[in-house]
Subunit: 316 residues, 2 copies
């Protein structure tokens, strides 16, 4: 049942931080670090690599930047217990601000890009590889990309040295048939590379689409604790590890940290299945307008939101 090539990446702090500008305190991040390590998860994605010239420390918490001093507060004086990953967005990190891996606690840098940014993403990813990092490119929002553009992007990626390419359902718009088709396409057009999957839960399909990807040979799997993440959130890690049934994984540490550290956030931010997120998923739209509606004092007026989107875009 167990496929040894499978690696699991926890995105709790990085993707969850999109909901609170990464204002997680040190104890929270330490607890996620300890729990994901105890659970046997392969990587903890702890935030974004961003230049301080691009974002304000007053507005954004430390996990928007992943400065080495902040990472050290999490790891403490003991040996690192789990590999750390950070995401880099095109144009928000200067090459000069990326330390050598030998001088960093980060092990893997995942470069996120849209289809029109693939050349820049490859350049940044090669730069990271040359500094010693494990590296992936996460091609976002492919549910909105035309077939020719996608094929060209995959062609460019196939020629790169980057070993791991992610299929990303940024808008939670894909059904299993889409994942079947795209995973097969990525596998075929990226020979020799490892494929990853990152899903969003707008239509309650994040976990099932991850399973569909596994069946299709995808080996890098993203999840987050109790599904915390932008908008509807991500594939719930506790479901994913329970499904994988690999003896190296332990579910109990996840349940502990969910009870202690994730549950309190349920009262502060609204990730998960809500009608506005469902609507953007069905319509294959960026969740920003749904997030704005959920943050307003009219979040339960879902007919109002439905009508606004229906008028603009047409619903089924």
């Amino acid at each position: 049942m167990f496929r040894p090539e499978i690696k699991v990446i926890d995105c709790t702090v990085r993707d969850g931080g999109l909901m609170n500008k990464w204002q997680f305190d040190t104890a929270f991040v330490q607890n996620v670090y300890q729990a994901t390590a105890a659970a046997g998860i392969d990587y903890m994605e702890i935030g974004y690599l961003s230049s301080e010239s691009a974002f304000s420390r007053e507005e954004f918490g430390p996990w928007k930047f992943c400065a080495e001093a902040d990472l050290k507060k999490i790891i403490g004086s003991e040996d690192k217990k789990i590999k750390l990953s950070a995401m880099a967005d095109i144009g928000r990190i200067d090459y000069a601000d990326i330390p050598l891996r030998s001088e960093s606690s980060i092990d893997m840098i995942r470069v996120a890009c849209y289809v029109h940014q693939v050349d820049k993403a490859v350049a940044l990813a090669h730069h990271c590889m040359d500094k010693g990092y494990e590296t992936t490119i996460n091609l976002m929002a492919v549910s909105t990309v035309g077939i020719r553009d996608l094929n060209e992007a995959l062609e460019d990626l196939s020629k790169s040295r980057v070993p791991i390419i992610y299929l990303v359902d940024s808008f939670g718009a894909f059904y299993s048939e889409d994942i079947d088709m795209l995973a097969a396409k990525y596998m075929e057009r990226l020979p020799g590379k490892t494929i990853g999957i990152h899903t969003h839960n707008n239509q309650q399909l994040a976990f099932s689409n991850t399973i569909t990807a596994i069946i299709n040979g995808v080996n890098y799997l993203d999840g987050s604790l109790y599904g915390i993440g932008r908008g509807a959130g991500n594939c719930p890690m506790e479901l994913l590890l329970s499904f994988l049934k690999n003896p190296k994984f332990k579910v109990r540490p996840l349940i502990e940290v969910i009870e202690k550290d994730i549950f309190p956030w349920r009262d502060k931010i609204d990730w998960g299945y809500f009608i506005p997120y469902m609507v953007t998923g069905v319509l294959n739209e960026h969740p920003r307008s749904a997030m704005a509606h959920m943050e307003s004092d009219r979040k339960n007026q879902v007919v109002e939101y439905f009508d606004k989107m229906n008028g603009e875009l047409g619903y089924v």
Copy 2:
């Protein structure tokens, strides 16, 4: 895209009533009736057919019984707007208490049974057919049934006159591969019959498993408003109709009734994705102990519940 044989059944009142002993008031049921009709849904399952000798009217609301006088309060003086379904459990309804269809507002009776009750279920279903009803048999909890027992049950069902047989994931334990395998088995072993699917959402797979069933040729599809139902609930109807994209379906009436009538129930009963329900889904267990935990004052102490189940049954 549209398969005309597909029929959609709303289980809001019947399965949701398992969470509140069918104590929905008349206005609620009227609003669900109007909304499901306006949405173009094929059947509204309005409750159970039970004999009043089996259950007390003081403890259970009217939709445990589906008396004709109560049905008339919902339908009013106009023509009926949507076909009505009621579920019958083996041993809880006397044949004599089932009126002729010509004297009832119910159109379809769905007989729910466990695998060891198939003979009784066929007898009851034939009785309902002979009284003029559309009839299905819903074989529950097949995730716990051995292959030989299941094959024998399907053999018995294949010999019956009952035209529609349901694949039921009572415990929310099935993954897509299980649905693929079982739907194919039901199709093969029940030639000439229509297959239905009823799912539970313990692992956030109710909607995706319904899609998997559709892909395998299953044509009777159960859902409920915002997924309301026992424990983790059912396939959310608003997701299902959005997926089906059949022009006869309208999503907006569902969003309206969800906002007005379903949202208030979120404060009173806990259906949906919660860790205790996830645990019983992963372990393929009846949700009753999870429901008891959720109804206790320790519902957020999920490690305690996990440890109890882990100690009894072993987890991954």
